[in-house]
């Protein structure tokens, strides 16, 4: 009986006992998130992502929106005459990472978080993120923006974003890539800061809507995010990384 089991038999038997046999493939967006995280040299970003001691920002209110409409939600303040209420433009559906509170970051030295100059993105889905040095994320604080979506007011329209207005109001302006979307929280890795300082932004969508500011955030895509008084600026001031919006950021915060 000593030759009863061949190598092939042994291998077959082992395969039948393979602990990974029932392992289901990782969802595509999760796989992309993992690779994106690695390429950013950012270690595990999981639910328990609390070791960085996030700077929680004002959960109080904010809003923004999709078609570029922003309303102060929690406060029920309705519309204000500033960027929160403006006329929609053709770019309005690109704007949108709306709001919330951003971290009260007063450092604002405008130093980029990476040494490289950000490049315009075509908004591809292939994780268009620039490399970051291994130590780039070490010891940096995390900025957490709490987003509150709100019903859109069709009468409120957003004007085309103005560099002057952005410069006057934004305390933070970042280029960031969506690393993961988990429940109502979108985590973005910051690559470049025009003003303010942060390593990671977490935007929480506290509304029942599955979309953020009128569009579905997508892992691996790059966004430009501006925040004023702990609120992400909507109305076209935050949104997908597009040359037009980037030009507004560059004009608002010229390199010194």
């Amino acid at each position: 009986m000593s030759d009863g089991v061949s190598d092939g038999d042994l291998r077959d038997r082992m395969r039948r006992a393979d602990p990974a046999a029932s392992l289901r493939p990782l969802p595509e967006d999760e796989a992309r998130r993992l690779v994106a995280g690695a390429a950013l040299d950012l270690p595990v970003v999981r639910k328990s992502y609390t070791r960085r001691v996030p700077v929680l920002i004002g959960a109080a209110a904010v809003v923004a929106l999709a078609a570029g409409v922003v309303v102060l939600a929690n406060t029920g303040a309705g519309h204000s005459p500033d960027w929160r209420v403006a006329l929609p433009t053709s770019e309005s559906n690109q704007s949108g990472l709306a709001t919330g509170s951003g971290a009260p970051d007063g450092s604002g030295d405008g130093q980029p978080t990476t040494s490289g100059r950000p490049r315009p993105s075509a908004g591809t889905t292939s994780v268009p993120v620039p490399p970051v040095s291994p130590s780039a994320s070490v010891g940096r604080k995390t900025t957490v923006a709490v987003l509150t979506d709100s019903p859109q007011d069709p009468d409120v329209r957003c004007p085309k974003p103005q560099a002057g207005f952005l410069a006057e109001n934004a305390g933070m302006a970042f280029e960031a890539t969506a690393l993961k979307i988990e429940g109502n929280v979108v985590t973005l890795q910051v690559h470049h800061a025009w003003i303010g300082e942060a390593d990671v932004i977490e935007v929480r969508n506290t509304t029942a809507s599955p979309v953020l500011a009128g569009f579905a955030p997508e892992v691996g895509r790059k966004y430009l995010v501006a925040a004023a008084d702990a609120e992400v600026m909507g109305c076209g001031y935050s949104g997908l990384d597009e040359p037009g919006l980037r030009a507004v950021y560059d004009e608002a915060f010229p390199k010194r």
Binding site: G4, V5, D7, R13, M14, A17, L23, L34, L42, P43
Partner: protein
Amino acid sequence: MDVEPRRTGFEAVAQELIEPLRRYLARRTDSATAEDVLSETLLVAWRRRTEMPAEPLAWAYAVARNCLANAERARRRQDRLLVRIWQVARPPEYAPARDDPDPELARAFARLSAVDAELVRLWAWEELGPAEIAQVVGMSANAVSIRLHRARKKMKSVLDEEGSGHE
């Protein structure tokens, strides 16, 4: 000095490596650890991307193996007391897990050294040849061939003794 880095190439390769790495880790640790180690493995792979060979699978397994070993070392340090208690309480003979799909196979595995058992796993589950296994475990291909042959022979002998065959 620009290290910009063939990022697109890395991402494409990494996407292909994810599932094999997940299976590799699922076979060797619990799901939570596997998740952490997978992330760490990709991170290390990114940092060492310039060393990545054209056929990266065995190389990636080696990275994962090291990351897993590091994770387990860290856990052992943290749980030293518990480990000690477990070792004292552990029965001298291998006790198959209640949900072990093939206790006899598990017993045969338990008769092998840790290194030999890993060679067999890499051969059967990862379907690697001796040269690739050698790359993963850091041995010569010749040594792998010899040890793998002996390990399989020993396992088959144990299975034969138990009369379990593979019916």
